[in-house]
Symmetry: C2
């Protein structure tokens, strides 16, 4: 079984502070981001902090999407972790940046499920794990 996954670590800077502080808005953006990425939402949980800030996690058939916002700093940290070759995680990142009106996005792409000793070797194209999943 191939355990390859793609994990995008997404830093969203210079975002709209009001949008970063709306739990309803952040939830809508994450669910829409999942649609853009062509992944299947299974569960989600969101929390608004006092005085400010939102955390959200979305379990998807292909792994997860999370976000944590710091409205005072105009910043959010998002993660998009997907297995399979049908997901389009970059599209989810772009949707989040657009929805939160971030003017500067930094994305780090990490390959998960590959042992350090294996990383130097050419990687095989991962199979579509999600196809064998029943929600």
């Amino acid at each position: 079984m191939d355990t390859h996954s793609t994990h995008l670590l997404v830093e969203l800077w210079e975002a709209n502070r009001e949008k970063l502080d709306s739990v309803t808005g952040v939830r809508e953006i994450l669910v829409a981001a999942a649609e853009k990425a062509r992944v299947t939402v299974l569960h989600s949980a969101f929390h608004r902090f006092s005085p400010v800030g939102v955390s959200g996690v979305v379990v998807i058939a292909e792994s997860h999407i999370t976000i944590h916002t710091w409205p005072e700093a105009g910043y959010a940290a998002a993660d998009i972790f997907t297995c399979g070759d049908k997901a389009m995680p970059q599209l989810a990142a772009e949707h989040m940046a657009q929805g939160l009106e971030s003017r500067r996005m930094e994305v780090t792409r990490v390959t998960r499920g590959v042992s350090r000793s294996q990383r130097a070797k050419p990687s095989l194209k991962p199979p579509h794990r999600a196809s064998s999943i029943q929600a």
Copy 2:
């Protein structure tokens, strides 16, 4: 506001396949891992896939803990994302490895909330964001 956070990307290899496939067991391990890390659990969601595999996300006051398991491969990908200076994410990683009987753990530590242009500069000790949080 300081946005520094610590994100551990944890690869758990050669783990116990039966334990990796138990949603109840994986949930117990993640909640206990949160306790070890001295973080506060707010919400959690777990999903068991057919035919095998478990995904779990835990929203904590300090950010999140997630896991995805590939029992056939004896592998799990976990993430421990914590802000504040009181959390002990490494202890959570060690607890997960122990609970899942992983014989080989690879941990990558990533600092989040720091712009790429700032990463070369010495970082300040982050404040304890969680202290201002009310669940």
